[in-house]
Amino acid sequence: MEKTIVDFVKVLRTAEVKVSPAETLDVMAAIEFVGYEDRLLFKNTLSMLLAKNPEEKETFETCFEKFFTFDDVMKAPVSGGSPDESQDSDAFEDENAGNNPQGQPGGKGSGQGGGQGSAADAEDPEDDDQATPAPTSALGQLLLQGTRSDLMVSMAEAGRAVEVNQIVVFTQKGLYTRKIMDQMGLKGLQEEISQRQEAADRGEQRLAGKLKRARDQLRDQVRDYVEKQFFLHADEHGKQLREELLKKVKLSNLEKRNHKDVQEIVFKMAKKLVSIHSKRRKTHKRGQLDIRKTLRHNMQYDGIFFDLKWKSVKVDRPKVMCICDVSGSVSNYSRFLLMFLYSLAEIIPKVRSFAFSSDLGEVTRLFQNSNLEDAMAKTMRDYGNGSTDYGQMFEDFKRNCMDDVDNKTTIIILGDARNNHGDPKSEILREMYEKSKRVIWLNPEPRSNWLVGDAEMKKYSPNCHQTEVCNSLTHLERVVSNLLKYAA
């Protein structure tokens, strides 16, 4: 059972529930008390020890149901049942004799019902000289005489031996089904069936037919089992691969159908950043006595000052102004930058966003009040057409918002700086540079293109604290993370 728990923990980890080894140990200790008998109790216990926030609880729920459910397999009737003229005790002994000497070839686990190998065919059906035939291959016996749970255990053991949890793609289903069947002793069964079919005795032939039916049913069950394992192990794995890929792909190459996935990733990244940066730091102004606090604190010591309190300042959350180019070529980047910033509302509550292609407009309200898709669509409609004019943008900014810029403001400008040979008005950027805490320019084009054609980066970059290439989610994450780190 320990092995099973470990397997289950592995499944949880692939499903992005963080489980530490210590927690796995806790589960083992807890099971000593609660046992396995009561399924609900078992589940509650595991849920309490392994899933530690509401989202994880939900994931846990689905994983648990998938992992620990064999109901539908149990329900499927194994046709044939016991042999017609059953010699139960005899057959039982037979089965035990057949099972005991064989170990699992993989050497893994030692379940009570497991342990069939192709070695079973050493017992030749020919020396079966009883009048009423009983299946002799181990798998045959299991199919016709064993209980369903024995069969299940055997299947799970075989699955573990062939490492079905390594399954990666859907097309491997057939392969693993066959592997498990082999592992369970299909070869012995096949031989027995063909031998019995050739035999003249009618009883033998009937048994062969029965075995055949049981075998086909078993194959269906195994396929079902493999499918479940696939969803358990590989599905999440594939998703992770896809996410990694999407993080690196150029945002402008993203297709519309991927937007939903990307949005999910952005939220996930944002959440990570929130948890890293949610701690509000304090810096002490060394050497500045906080008289008020010291007086209050030292009252208990008869007013003798021996525990001094120093002035400290809370590190402020960054105040961000985000100016996004939403003309055709760059709009996709703006979309995700804004998405990122608004997912971080918890730690950067003061985001003001502006959109432009030629005229600048504030879209803060739009993003706060409606969902991202709508807000983005509206922004595009209102500001997206017209040729890019950075000079106009800077002028608008100066007219409307320059007064709001203070030494705590970080200004992020996202755009390719392609100004259609208009007046760049870099002196306004200079002014912003001097007034604000930081000006960060994010440019989706590679650095080598920054000076080519009508790009004005040459004039703009000296007036920025930082210029970055930014064309994938990974870049975005880095930029935002830095933004939070240096917010002091």
């Binding site: 963080k18 807890a30 008390f33 309490m48 530690k52 509401p54 948890s275 208990q300 010591y301």
Partner: protein
């Protein structure tokens, strides 16, 4: 020899912890009985008018048997704090409560030196200093003589224990309730770690203070999820999420808490509240609001809900004007629905 064996057996904790009745000395039997099975916990809590569900009872059971703190999360007003208090009541032990807030630090949570007392004593003892140092020649000898007295001023007599330390020193065991951990600072969370995993606290001047190994405090932490609790803390805890109860459970709770409510009205008001929770509100009513409302309705001698009455008492269950306004329009419909269901 047998003594030595016994001593060794006492040290083998892992073995002892496998035995559900490890605290089997006669004095503790009663406590163990309350916590021996999940059903016992459930009925014990029900006896104190705290209606638990299976998960809650399991959490208490595991907390006791695994010596692990329980981190309770859930929306406000579902009975997180109440659970800790009820468990303390059930076991008839003290409940020590530490309310967390921003700026809570170790001098308020763990211990503080009684500076005033220390000062006073030094003043008083100034005179006797001469006697102590009597006969000592030179500085070295005097200092050596003073050292013989040890760190009297930093002994437990001068220590002001705060909730966490009090809980450890409680010989008979206790329930320690650390309320709303999410309100405290990050630093404080790290401060809790030693306490939560080993049931001990280190004080530089004195050493380590440990809980009575047979009577470790039962620790409950509650959180309203205003911020994510750190993984290190979560790892050490059992995590219990208490959601809003379903209609059945809520009805039982109301019955336990406000037994005067007739069955008919109870069903109506529970249906009404459950319907409210489905709506898009700023703050949906929790169990505590249901109970308050039931009490209010009893005071008003209500037999059955009607729209006018509901409108007048909405402020008991809804705490935002915005919510009250948006619900007022729906009251007639909701009331009818509640009446029909009963």
């Amino acid at each position: 020899m047998p003594d030595a064996l016994l001593a060794r057996a006492a040290h083998q904790k892992p073995d002892a912890s496998l035995n559900p009745f490890k605290r089997g000395s006669p004095l503790t039997l009663e406590r163990d009985e309350h916590l021996a099975t999940i059903e016992a916990i459930h009925s014990g809590l029900a006896g104190l008018n705290y209606i638990s569900n299976k998960q809650i009872a399991t959490a208490v059971f595991l907390a006791y048997h695994l010596d692990k703190p329980v981190l309770i999360e859930g929306p406000p007003g579902v009975g997180k704090t109440e659970l800790a208090k009820s468990v303390a009541n059930m076991l008839d032990i003290t409940c020590i409560r530490l309310q967390c807030y921003e700026g809570l630090d170790e001098s308020k949570a763990i211990y503080e030196w009684k500076y005033g007392k220390q000062l006073l004593y030094t003043q008083v003892l100034k005179e006797t200093l001469g006697e102590i140092l009597d006969g000592a020649k030179g500085l070295t000898e005097s200092v050596a003589k003073l050292h013989e007295f040890g760190d009297v001023f930093f002994s437990e007599e001068f220590l002001e224990p705060r909730p966490l330390m009090k809980a450890l020193k409680e010989e008979a065991g206790c329930v320690l309730l650390i309320d709303e951990v999410d309100k405290s600072d990050h630093e404080f969370e790290s401060l809790l770690l030693e306490m939560l995993s080993d049931y001990q606290l280190s004080i530089p001047e004195i050493g380590t203070i440990k809980a009575n190994p047979d009577r470790k405090p039962l620790v409950f932490l509650t959180s309203n999820n205003t911020r994510e609790i750190s993984d290190a803390l979560k790892r050490r805890c059992l995590h219990l999420y208490i959601p809003f109860p379903d209609a059945d459970l809520e009805s039982q709770i109301v019955q336990a808490r406000v037994p005067e409510v007739p069955a008919e009205l109870r069903r109506q008001l529970v249906t009404f509240i459950q319907a409210l929770r489905e709506m898009d509100l700023k703050k949906v009513p929790a169990i505590s609001e249901t109970i308050d409302w039931a009490k209010a309705l009893i005071l008003l001698h209500t037999e059955s809900l009607d729209a006018e009455l509901v409108k007048q008492t909405l402020n008991v269950i809804l705490k935002f004007q915005e919510d009250i306004e948006s619900v007022t329009g729906e009251v007639q419909m909701l009331t009818n629905k509640a009446l029909k269901s009963s």
